[in-house]
């Protein structure tokens, strides 16, 4: 696994020497900040209104700010995943450096793990920056921090699953744009398939809505660690990485 660490360090470094990482951090922080400000504003508005009516409503920061905020972010994440994974293998294939990796005494799985973990780390650092927002909540209010942490764990798991899918798609082409666009399409699809469950109750609809990566996030947003949902994400991670390994192997037979 020492080799995985070597690959991991190299990948993380190349994210952070190029503008990609900073651009993603900035955009994510901006969008997160906007959503935060928005839910906070709405929370304050509801509070004022209920006071004006003279009948105070139960107010809860966790339920009314953090939960909708995290739900929104779980969707926003879908738009950022392709930008993180698109270059992982496509770039190596285009520039020919894949030959170096494949002809070095390194196992495929070490290369894949190193790359995927680097992608996860970039996403994690994007999430880390957003903690700043919650600083205000803790300073002026007293939200419960445990559901918040579980929510973040959910965001990481969800991103890990989608990043594994994105890594797989990146092995299929030499073209970063194609890898990015295809990953984006798959991410969107994995979100919207859940919608059929809203009006259809047949077996196939249940299966489809079970496949939605956003539906499985609902329990995490509530601050509930549901094994069923965690297992879904972990299974998707394994599936994505397994297909990546297969694809990397077939690269040798095809090229």
């Amino acid at each position: 696994m020492k080799n995985a660490l070597t690959i991991y360090r190299k990948e993380l470094r190349s994210y952070f020497v190029s503008p990609i990482a900073y651009l993603l951090l900035l955009m994510f922080a901006l969008i997160f900040g906007f959503f935060f400000w928005n839910s906070l504003g709405y929370f304050v508005f509801i509070g004022m209104e209920s006071q004006m009516r003279g009948q105070p409503m139960p107010m809860n920061i966790n339920e009314q700010i953090i939960r909708p905020l995290l739900s929104n972010i779980s969707v926003v994440g879908l738009f950022f995943i392709p930008m993180i994974t698109m270059r992982l293998f496509a770039e190596e294939k285009r520039s020919g450096t894949i030959e170096l990796l494949v002809t070095s005494p390194v196992r495929d799985i070490e290369v894949i793990l190193g790359k995927w973990l680097a992608a996860c780390s970039l996403y994690a650092s994007m999430l880390l920056v957003t903690f700043l927002n919650f600083g205000f909540l803790f300073k002026y209010g007293n939200p419960d921090w445990k559901p918040l942490l579980i929510g973040y764990l959910g965001l990481l798991l969800q991103a890990g699953a989608l990043l594994a899918v994105g890594t797989f798609i990146s092995t299929l082409t030499k073209n970063q744009i194609i890898a990015g666009a295809a990953t984006f399409a798959i991410c969107l699809l994995l979100w919207v398939v859940g919608w059929v469950g809203d009006y259809e109750t047949a077996m196939w609809a249940t299966v489809l809505s079970y496949m939605s990566v956003v539906t499985h996030f609902e329990s995490f947003a509530k601050g509930v660690l549901d094994t069923k949902d965690a297992v879904f994400y972990v299974a998707l991670i394994f599936l994505g990485l397994f297909f990546t390994a297969r694809s990397m192997e077939s690269l040798r037979w095809r090229s």
Partner: protein
């Protein structure tokens, strides 16, 4: 060091490498020659465990490429046609990364990086980003990358492609200097390169092995008959070249004399022989006849001609078949 037996790579529609067998002994530099698309890169990729062969076997340092790919990879340094470089990394950092991938660490890694930087003269660009380096430097960084783990076997795919003449010379010298410690298999389609750097040549065409021999033997083989070029001048007026022809034909061992034309008073002839003859006899016969001997040199056939002859003969059969098909029965 490298043993290849009946190596074959078949794709859906074509056969890129067709039952190739050869051996490379330890410490040799071997040129792997063939026109573009002959299957050089494919063969090299099979040797470096980049892709598995369809059939046949190859072994490096006694290890089969299919059975022990991990061990084989440790014994091989590989420079693909486009050096596998990361433009966003600095040279030293890149070499460290590759060294780690190849299993080096700690003080040994540092020592090897220093050594290869010195050896491939890239020490002065150690802290420069690879993306900013010139083509010659990149090629050298590519070579440095290939020898970082001190491999027994070096496989270089067109190491001088796209370099200017000075860089080509430098790269060649570098490769030659590496020969003692490493066994080198280098592919190219530039012939003088093989003549200058390699001891042995393997020629392939359309996936098939055409010849494998030493450079010297190949030249001799293609030459068949021995021949020399002679340039003669006369002091007294114009030279009667039929006289010269007659005179030369009398020399023992000469089978044929061809007139090759005249230029500013000098006439050239090609003297051919089935077996051999003394060049001294030729010279004496000319001088005794009262002519001036301006030049006398063996008509060395360059590897280029050998190569063209060998690869051309392979192309003929389909052409004849087409001609036959065109003839109405």
């Amino acid at each position: 060091m490298i043993i290849v037996e009946e190596l074959t790579k078949r794709y859906a529609r074509n056969t890129a490498v067709d039952h190739i067998s050869f051996r490379v002994e330890k410490g040799q530099i071997v040129g792997f020659l063939g026109p573009n698309g002959a299957g050089k890169t494919t063969t090299m990729r099979m040797l470096t465990c980049f892709m598995p062969p369809t059939s046949g076997s190859a072994s490096i340092a006694g290890l089969d490429v299919l059975e022990h790919p991990m061990k084989v990879k440790k014994h091989i340094g590989y420079l693909p046609e486009t050096p596998p470089l990361y433009p966003e990394m600095a040279t030293g950092e890149y070499l460290q990364f590759v060294g780690r991938l190849k299993g080096l660490s700690g003080g040994e890694l540092k020592k090897r990086v220093d050594y290869v930087c010195e050896r491939c003269s890239v020490a002065d660009v150690r802290h420069k980003l690879i993306g900013k380096l010139s083509k010659g430097y990149r090629q050298r960084v590519g070579l440095a990358q290939a020898i970082i783990h001190n491999p027994d076997v070096l496989i270089l795919d067109e190491p001088t492609a796209g370099l200017d003449p000075k860089q080509i010379n430098e790269t060649r010298d570098l490769i030659k200097s590496l020969a003692g410690d490493h066994t080198i298999l280098l592919s190219t389609h530039i012939l003088p390169e093989v003549e200058q750097t390699c001891q042995q040549v393997i020629i392939i065409n359309k996936g098939k092995l055409v010849a494998t021999d030493s450079v010297q033997n190949l030249q001799n083989r293609a030459r068949g008959a021995v021949s020399v070029l002679v340039e003669v001048a006369s002091r007294s007026g114009p030279l009667d070249f039929s006289m010269v022809q007659k005179q030369l034909e009398q020399v023992a061992g000469v089978s044929r004399v061809l007139y090759r034309g005249s230029n500013s008073g000098f006439s050239s002839f090609e003297v051919e022989s089935e077996k051999s003859f003394s060049r001294g006899d030729v010279a004496r016969s000319i001088v005794n006849a009262g002519w001036d001997l301006n030049e006398l040199r063996p008509a060395a056939i360059s590897l280029e001609e050998v190569f063209l002859q060998l690869t051309k003969s392979e192309e003929k059969p389909p052409l004849e078949a087409a001609e036959l098909a065109g003839v109405p029965a």
